[in-house]
Symmetry: C2
Subunit: 172 residues, 2 copies
């Protein structure tokens, strides 16, 4: 966690205050030469930036029209940005669907390879979980690829609790 | 499937035509002595009827205010009704959250014990899947309790495909 904590520290920004200032990148003047990482829950993400991020981790391309619709209809969208001077760069993304009451399911968690292994994925997830908990969502779920099960376990996620199985439907 | 098929048959109603007539219960006059089972995607379900149904299968009670909110914010809500003459009775329920584009997750699948083991759960799920597929949702998911994994497997759901794990978050 040292990497991003130090970046937050340089601008006196904690995870919490960055969430309060989530519109800053689009609304406020930026001091040149300041380097920081911040979260945003805004949905007006440039879809080509997002596609570039997903390309970087090798995901299959998806129609941008559908990506736009999915973002619109997600309960929560969290993006992570690196800001250097006047430039900002999309370096992380995640979103959750929800019934706004009981359940949420997290999808599309991605961190740019240049920024992996620095605790940023953990920071993104913690931010997302905190937001969902603040909205009184009690059941936070996800479907984890085998190589990230341990990552999510370390964040407090349990695989198959009480034998509950994640299942996917495929046509016969 | 014989039981509900024969009920549908008595009114010349198939699964498809019952969906087209899904507003009938609230909109159309009903011929007395007609017995049939039909689906509805209407959301104006009496919450006390739904609570009674969930009580019957032993689920923990949930605040009706939150149940109402969850129904409002689900992508799809499917209820199943038995109609006898002028009376109708809620005998099944299910709903799905979704991003309206790629993913859906099915929650709260319930069939009244009096109507279990007659193929109605299967009919309800097939109706739900068909609706989701018609809306171009490619990834249909759910979390299955151990005793219903086989039920869902028979419907075309695969547990842990390619090692993907369903995970639930619990506070530390």
């Amino acid at each position: 966690m040292g990497f991003w904590k130090s970046l937050f520290t340089t601008t006196d920004t904690t995870t919490e205050s960055s969430s309060q200032k989530r519109d800053r990148a689009s609304l406020s003047p930026v001091t040149p030469q300041t380097e920081r990482i911040f979260f945003s829950t805004e949905r007006d993400i440039d879809l080509y930036d997002l596609e570039e991020l997903c390309d970087a981790v090798g995901w299959s391309r998806r129609p941008l029209r559908k990506v736009k619709k999915a973002i619109q209809h997600s309960f929560l969208v969290v993006s992570m940005w690196e800001q250097q001077g006047n430039r900002r760069r999309l370096i992380g993304f995640s979103r959750a669907t929800s019934d706004h009451a009981f359940n949420a399911t997290i999808w599309d968690v991605v961190i740019h390879p240049d920024f992996q292994h620095k605790g940023l994925g953990k920071a993104l997830m913690k931010y997302l979980i905190k937001k969902l908990r603040n909205d009184d969502i009690s059941n936070i779920t996800l479907f984890a690829d085998p190589h990230v099960v341990e990552f999510y376990r370390n964040l407090g996620f349990t695989p198959d609790p009480e034998g509950i199985k994640g299942m996917f439907w495929y046509p016969d």
